[in-house]
Symmetry: C2
Subunit: 547 residues, 2 copies
């Protein structure tokens, strides 16, 4: 028996586009002699469809697509994810289902039982958990069909869930497992995935065919990396990351092989590829091609410029340099060299005269008050406004260049440098931005080395440095990581050897700045805990905000 | 037996403040001879604590507060909501629980079984559903203790759920029901609540004591309106809306009474009170007192100014008039009269010279291109920037003045008039804003009548009117309501008699503007479907966006 895995890039709500992609994949797989082709979880709708699932019309369009796919299941079986209506009145309206289509009929449907409802996932918002865990027989083989999370409670050892769907299906002694997934990328996830697949195959002693999405849907990036494992937990194949692919596997070959083909996974390299894909798909799926960004001469905007050029082509990236009276000469120069290195268009617009026009109108109101936050933020907002003027005039999407460290502590100006359609590096701590910059420069100096070596500064007042008001980024990032990713208490962080006053100050900054992050653009997610839809915090809360 | 209901305003994560409030309520209730005092769902943490629930330290602080409350349960029993740790490894880490504290001990704990996970609710993100539904006996009475949603599946007729906790508890023949709730306000909800409480008491033929939160937590507003009903479904009392109150009820009196005391509920009056409370608590709970807003001379900013003055005092509201070359004389004048009516400080800052400074810098880049969206948005962003300069300089929170109709179709400028810490009327369609303005003016002309009668205009180019690019607001709002609130398909809306082309155009505008609403401030929620955390839409989706 030959099984094809179709690791493809779908688009939420684009039923026609998704169907065409599947139709072409079915034709290819048939040509290669596949008996079954597998598409990922909710491939028909794209993942995650979010509240579109609450629109009957949206579900109807999905059903129509399933009907069309059923007609293609002729000489080949199709496994594909789509929502199904729950026929029972009680419980949620939908199931998150895997269809098994064969001989132009729906041969079998399995409903997902374990519904991830944490971090970015909201599945219990929409779906009733499945409760029957059978197998489907096709061409003499018994197949345990499962959806994503259902293989993530091996031996009931995942504390999130109380049942193990595969244990139930295993009672019918299937020949192999198919799992269709929508498993978002984070830099630590690919290894977890290999482990869980090994555990499943070793427990049930049968091969497993795992197919994942590739492609980005706004902030959520799917890496692909679909997996075929044999009955002993050997990895027969791990499909490429960040690339579409359709590949056909022979079941007997998989069972006979002892090969263990695991791809190398370097954190920063994967992050680079994920962000490039995230950018490409955000533009492509919205029907835009051109980006704009402000180049400050600092490392954050430099890294974003490179990523944008690599994702969209340097021709499609426009850089604007927006110096003020506080900008150092080297900033403008470094930014200019960077743009030239990339071959991207750049313009220089000094903001001093606009700043002067604002201050003239504000003079009567601000007179006698010292230069402060208002004047600093004003510069950032003039820049944000100029960039948006270009965006509106020429149809370029503005890229946000904030990093995770500054987003965490509120070190950024709302409606100023926090502007943008997409936050490209908002899930990278400053220290990771440096790592990424070094990765980008690994073969040649694309980012001028001066940008990497000078001390970070917002340049909003004379001789300002980030280190005037923030601790060293190594320390800051560690404390932030322990609080944000690991959710440690102040005391537990103190036990790691940090100053309790510094901890209190930093955690307070994190918590009082929820109002800013609420209005931040969507952030390309590459870690296990990104700001945005996966981290939901009260704004008016009083936890750790001091007295 | 005497039962006190404490309908109080709690603050998320403010354990000390919440404890103090409860301690004082316990003392009052004891003085009035209460045997039991009931506080709302998750009163200890404030509702909704959101992802703070994932921090062990936060749960520990909650447990400590429960320990302190237990010591107060001396001569009076205390019913109060707080999270509890799930002792079993499998399943979510927490339960959403009702504690019954008596004789300085935890006498009983009931875990919520029905976990709302829709709209603004994310309870299954955090909580394992409870599965035992017993009663607690105190002073010879058997009490069915329940949490919020657990009374919302009477006779298993709510399609969302498959079990009915109260049916189980009823088997032990309790004397009455206590329900502790966190039931957010929407203008249609208070009537639903009365109905469900009547249904419960009629089914089980015992009285029900229902206590709700009052107060706002960022966008979510709790109205109070706690209810006592007898065994026949007669409403013995409905506590006030939008006001804290502690009231003691005698069980025998409740049972003997045939009174049916239901408060009148006028949609617009309730909305007015909800928004005033929402404003007051947003400022109060963040520790701010002063607001700022731009007054355009239009109805939206006029209504927001009145609400702010009523919530914070006119002394705490600063209005800025920001006319451009396209502003009509009457706009400035109407805005001025309004500010004077309110007794609020106002300043006039013309934006022409700043606009000129921008256009001078942009001239070389925009030369030869016609005046368009970029120039319109530039005006809005100059205004937004000026307002934020005041906000930063003087510590006033900027109020957003967008309405739901314009937020829906993207008729607003990101980083311009979409700025603000809080969207005050973002859950009111334009036609409802008019209704609210008329309500405000019911006794005297606080808002100059000219503002109510002139045709709406953004005044961003010569002689612009909203009606140039949008249909009549009566038509627009109906189509939006059917799509957003009722989630109807284009065809179903067409069947109501609207032009299919118009419908397609409007729904397309709604869907392609998700990127704008993603960065919108939190919106005070008064309807069943507000923009913000209760409506979660893909940005890169292609549903109804046209080709």
């Amino acid at each position: 028996m030959k099984i094809a895995l179709a690791q493809l890039n779908f688009h939420i709500g684009n039923f026609d586009g998704n169907f065409k992609k599947m139709k072409s994949a079915v034709a290819k797989a048939k040509k290669k002699g596949a008996d079954i082709i597998c598409f990922p979880e909710l491939a028909v709708t794209g993942y995650p469809p979010r509240d579109f699932l609450e629109f009957d019309d949206f579900i109807e369009l999905s059903n129509q697509t399933i009907a069309k796919l059923t007609q293609l299941a002729d000489g080949i079986a199709i496994v594909v994810g789509a929502p199904t209506k729950n026929p029972v009145v009680e419980g949620k309206d939908l199931f998150n289902s895997a269809y098994f289509l064969a001989d132009k009929k729906i041969l079998h449907i399995t409903h997902k039982a374990l519904l991830p409802t944490y971090d970015i996932f909201d599945e219990y918002r929409y779906f009733e958990p499945g409760s029957s865990f059978g197998t489907v027989t096709y061409k003499g083989k018994k197949i345990a069909l499962s959806v994503c999370e259902d293989i993530w409670n091996v031996g009931n050892e995942n504390p999130l869930y109380t049942i193990c769907p595969l244990d139930e299906a295993a009672k019918e002694q299937p020949d192999f497992i198919i799992n269709i997934s929508a498993s978002p990328f984070s830099f630590s996830h690919p290894d977890d995935r290999l482990d869980i697949i090994r555990e499943n195959t070793r427990r049930y002693k049968i091969p497993l065919f795992y197919v994942n999405h590739i492609g980005a849907q706004t902030e959520i990036i799917f890496a692909g990396g679909s997996i075929v494992a044999n009955q002993d937990g050997d990895i027969f194949d791990e499909m490429p990351f960040f690339k579409e692919q359709i590949k056909v596997y022979d079941l007997d070959e998989v069972k006979a092989s002892k090969a263990n083909k695991v791809r190398k996974k370097e954190k920063i390299e994967m992050i680079y590829q994920a962000l490039v894909l995230g950018l490409k798909d955000y533009f492509g799926k919205l029907g835009f091609s051109k980006a704009i960004l402000g180049l400050s001469g600092g490392i954050d905007s430099a890294v974003v410029a490179v990523l944008a050029a690599d994702a969209l082509g340097a021709d499609n990236v426009r850089c604007i340099l927006l110096p003020s009276q506080f900008s150092s000469d080297h900033s403008v120069n470094d930014a200019r060299v960077l743009a030239e290195n990339l071959g991207a268009q750049y313009d220089i617009i000094p903001i001093e005269s606009i700043y002067g026009a604002f201050m003239e109108e504000l003079d009567i109101h601000f007179r006698g008050l010292p230069f402060g936050l208002a004047e600093e933020n004003l510069q950032a907002r003039i820049r944000g406004t100029l960039l948006m003027a270009f965006s509106n005039k020429f149809g370029n999407i503005l890229l946000n260049t904030s990093n995770k460290s500054e987003a965490a502590v509120g070190y950024g100006t709302l409606y100023g440098d926090m502007n943008g359609g997409l936050s490209v590096i908002g899930d990278l701590y400053k220290t990771e931005v440096f790592d990424l910059a070094n990765y980008i420069n690994r073969e040649e100096e694309r980012i001028p080395s001066n940008i990497l070596t000078k001390p970070p500064s917002a340049e909003l007042r004379p001789d300002q440095k980030d280190s005037d008001s923030l601790p060293d980024y190594g320390i800051l990032d560690t404390i932030l990581f322990e609080y944000i990713e690991n959710r440690k208490s102040p005391k537990a962080i103190e036990a790691m050897g940090f100053d309790p006053k510094l901890i209190a100050r930093i955690l307070r900054m994190v918590n009082i700045n929820e109002f800013k992050r609420y209005q931040m653009p969507p952030v390309l997610r590459v870690s296990d805990k990104a700001f945005g839809i996966g981290r939901r915090m009260p704004i008016v809360g009083k936890y750790l905000t001091g007295s």
